[in-house]
């Protein structure tokens, strides 16, 4: 599309493209907006493309999902299967399962599209999660992007729910087993749980109402909300501008990168086709969820190795780790064994995730806008907290596959469960400490590189016998990246009684905050001052000169 903007009628456009642009512009007045859009600059970094993977997977999901709706019948009407998959011929099953088998075996391209849809779903949630980690570890959620962080958190929750709904639709043995657990979790909600489950399932489990209801939720309600939130998410990135890493010429008030048109558009557009291509390649080569093997859902059956898709795995793992606690009071049973792992733990985790920008801002007292990203090492406490949460999540996740681990490695499932129960409490704090120490070590190494240059690997022997390694100054780009770190002093402790002898009512609260701020910042390694840097550079130049002289002398021998 041409972007020729023409406001003057007196000067008619020379080309056909120009004429078309004028035609559109005279009716939509779009040239100004289009020009601003195409000139929009996006910074370049591989990690900024993780969100793109999520977006593209979502588009693939909408396209492949539409195809599946043409053939899938969300009905619990019982029929006798008469399709081309012999081992199930003559078996009684729901129309939902039978139509899924038809998609897999009798619809042209159906199995490929089903597998594209399912693999794209795994990609979608994976990309959303990894994108979230990138945003977290680089501090991109800080002011003014807190709201967009919350929208992102909502997108993650919805993506997980949407995936689970899709997994449950085919009414195969695994879907039904998953829904049975979901129903159990609903029932575990105190007071309203039973009513809620009965209301959603239209009576006792499994009933005939839930699959059609879930279908509406899966293809209309949740994707609609997802689409709306994705749009808001992107518009906010557009208006607030994308964050960037520190580097030469990059400041809090500019964006260094490529214009949307043509470079970024080519890169992003090309990346869409690569994502679609890789998804299709995987779907064409690798089986996902072979529903025909599991058979139709019957409450009397269950298969060993029943697992949900990966993004539900951590909840399954939490349920597997929780001891079988129950309380009976006043004729009611409180199932702690489901309430804690499936509702309380995820509730706390998602709430903490959504509120994190405000928690950190409160602790640090940092109310400024941030458009330059932190390198993870330069925010050791945040990075440590992130790794702590990630470790907690991963242990739950691995526990979801404890039976597969047991068979694959010939271990006792009971011992695995107990080991993870212990690790769940021991490993995250340990991961925090180790991560923080690694970050601080990397900060020292950065300073070292700034002050002493990088090791060239060239070792010289001086005339008096001493060996030295030649250091050379790092590049200006590398130096700018390191110097992009800002040193922040922890909040000062306010006096409990001011100079006039009046008690400060906020002192106690502020003292806690100051302590937390000090915990967050105080270990940071100070970046060298300008004077230190100047002196160091002079010293480096001198040493280099000396080394060169010596090497000349040695070579002269």
């Amino acid at each position: 599309m041409s972007t020729t903007s023409s406001q003057s009628v007196s000067n008619p456009p020379a080309t056909k493209g120009g004429a078309a642009a004028v035609y559109i512009d005279e009716r939509l007045a779009s040239s100004n907006f289009t020009k601003r859009l195409l000139d929009k600059v996006f910074p370049d970094h591989w990690s900024f493309m993780l969100g793109e993977i999520a977006l593209y997977s979502f588009i693939i999901l909408l396209l492949s999902g539409t195809y599946l709706t043409l053939w899938f019948k969300p009905s619990m009407t019982e029929i006798i299967y008469n399709g081309s998959y012999m081992p199930l011929k003559g078996v009684k099953m729901s129309e939902a399962y039978s139509s899924t088998l038809d998609i897999s075996f009798d619809v042209r391209g159906g199995l490929l599209l089903r597998q594209i849809h399912h693999w794209a779903a795994l990609f979608f949630v994976a990309a959303v999660s990894v994108h979230l980690l990138r945003v977290f570890f680089t501090g991109a959620f800080r002011k003014p992007r807190e709201i967009n962080w919350v929208i992102g958190t909502l997108l993650l929750v919805l993506a997980i729910l949407e995936g689970f709904a899709g997994y449950s639709l085919p009414d195969d043995l695994l879907s039904g087993t998953g829904l049975r657990i979901a129903e159990g979790i609903m029932q575990a909600i105190p007071l309203v749980g039973t009513y809620l489950a009965m209301f959603l399932f239209g009576g006792e489990f499994p009933g005939t109402d839930f699959i059609p209801r879930l279908y509406s939720i899966h293809i209309l309600l949740v994707p609609g909300i997802l689409l709306a939130l994705v749009t808001v998410h992107l518009i906010m990135v557009f208006y607030q501008k994308h964050t960037q890493f520190a580097g030469p010429g990059r400041t809090e008030s500019n964006v260094v990168g490529y214009r949307l048109f043509p470079v970024y558009m080519a890169k992003a557009g090309g990346f869409f086709f690569i994502v679609f291509g890789i998804t299709t390649l995987i779907a064409a080569l690798v089986t996902i969820n072979p529903v025909w093997m599991y058979g139709p859902y019957t409450p009397s059956q269950v298969t060993a190795g029943s697992q949900p898709d990966w993004y539900i795995g951590w909840l399954d793992g939490a349920v597997r780790l929780t001891p079988n606690w129950e309380t009976n009071a006043f004729g009611h049973t409180i199932s702690w064994n489901l309430l804690i792992p499936a509702l309380i733990i995820p509730g706390i985790m998602f709430t903490a995730l959504g509120l994190y920008p405000w928690i950190e801002a409160w602790v640090t007292g940092d109310k400024r806008e941030h458009h330059l990203l932190d390198r993870p090492r330069n925010a050791p406490t945040r990075t440590g907290l992130g790794v702590l949460a990630l470790t907690f999540y991963l242990i739950l996740w691995i526990s979801g596959g404890n039976d597969i681990l047991a068979t694959a490695f010939h271990l006792s499932i009971n011992q695995i469960t107990w080991s993870f129960r212990v690790l769940l409490f021991v490993a995250p704090p340990l991961a925090f400490v180790v991560t923080k120490r690694i970050c601080l070590g990397l900060q020292r190494r950065d300073n070292d590189k700034l002050l002493h240059g990088y090791e060239t690997g060239r070792v010289l022997r001086l005339p008096h016998g001493e060996f030295i390694e030649v250091h050379e100054p790092i590049s200006t780009h590398a130096a700018a990246v390191i110097l992009g770190k800002e040193d922040i002093a922890p909040l000062a402790l306010e006096a409990a009684i001011d100079e006039n002898g009046v008690r400060n009512p906020k002192a106690k609260k502020n003292a806690t905050r100051a302590r937390l701020s000090s915990w967050f910042y105080s270990d940071n390694v100070a970046t060298p001052t300008d004077e230190e840097l100047k002196a160091a550079l002079e010293h480096q130049a001198h040493a280099l000169h000396e080394a060169q002289e010596h090497s000349g002398a040695i070579e002269g021998h």
Binding site: W46, G247, F271, I274, I282, T287, N289, G305, T407
Partner: protein, 258 residues
């Protein structure tokens, strides 16, 4: 007046016929249930006893009555012996939570002798005849239903096996032959329950064996099966294969800025 027309011996004749028929029918049925027991010769039993005393009695006791190290074998039948010894699970390599299948330690005639000896100790399920494990004409779809109802909860719907408690496991059935499967069902080895002919009829057993042989073809219409382990390997693949590939591309596209 009806009574007076009968011969005084009629009652005895009817009784004799009835008893004879019942006895013959019972003999026929029990012969069908234990065909091997009748063909075992005395020498075979003796040879089996000798082998038993050498290789099995340290755990199962001199008279197969069992000890603290192994269960009694009286009444387990020849099927159990053929399964356990034939698959190399017995004699056990060492004490453990569950016998591991390994290389068979005895040859075919030795296994037959051991089976004959154990079968002679008391009636129990016997080694199936070739006809009993012949699956031609069996119902594949019914076999699938029965497999998913009775077998999948431990061996998994894919027959790849699964974990049981305390380090026990249900082994993969991907390499089991029909005789093994039949013997396992009637004898209930290790943690497995017994599926007698009352629970699963002989014809249903054939259905199951037919379905299992379908699974053993290991056909995967959707492409690579990822070990048929379900969502765990799929989840691993999406990160190790899928996300890794896309991130490499992203690094390639994003590389340049410096």
């Amino acid at each position: 007046m009806a009574i007076s027309r009968r011969h005084p011996a009629a009652l005895f004749a009817v009784l004799a016929v009835a008893l004879g028929t019942t006895g013959a029918a019972y003999a026929a049925v029990s012969a069908q249930a234990a065909p091997k027991a009748t063909v075992a010769s005395a020498t075979q039993v003796d040879q089996g006893k000798q082998l038993f005393l050498e290789g099995c009695s340290s755990c199962h006791g001199m008279a197969a009555q069992g000890s603290s190290d192994g269960p009694s074998l009286i009444g387990v039948g020849s099927a159990a012996v053929d399964f356990q010894v034939g698959s190399g699970r017995m004699p056990m390599a060492g004490p453990g939570i569950q016998a591991v299948a390994r290389k068979t330690q005895y040859n075919t005639s030795e296994i037959a002798a051991l089976a004959a000896y154990v079968a002679s100790l008391g009636p129990g399920p016997s080694i199936p005849t070739a006809e009993m494990v012949n699956t031609s004409g069996a119902d594949l779809a019914m076999g699938g239903e029965l497999f998913r109802t009775n077998c999948a909860q431990c061996h998994s719907a894919s027959a790849k096996g699964g974990a049981l408690s305390q380090g026990r496991w249900a082994p993969s059935l991907m390499n089991s032959n029909n005789k093994d499967v039949y013997e396992a069902m009637v004898s209930g080895p290790q943690s497995m329950p017994v599926f007698s002919d009352k629970t699963i009829t002989p014809s249903e057993k054939k259905d199951i064996m037919l379905y299992l042989s379908e699974l053993q073809k290991n056909e995967s219409p959707g492409g690579f099966s990822l070990g048929r382990l379900g969502a765990v390997t799929e989840g691993l693949f999406i990160f190790v294969g899928g996300m890794a590939a896309l991130m490499i591309v992203a690094v390639w596209i994003g590389a340049r800025a410096r």
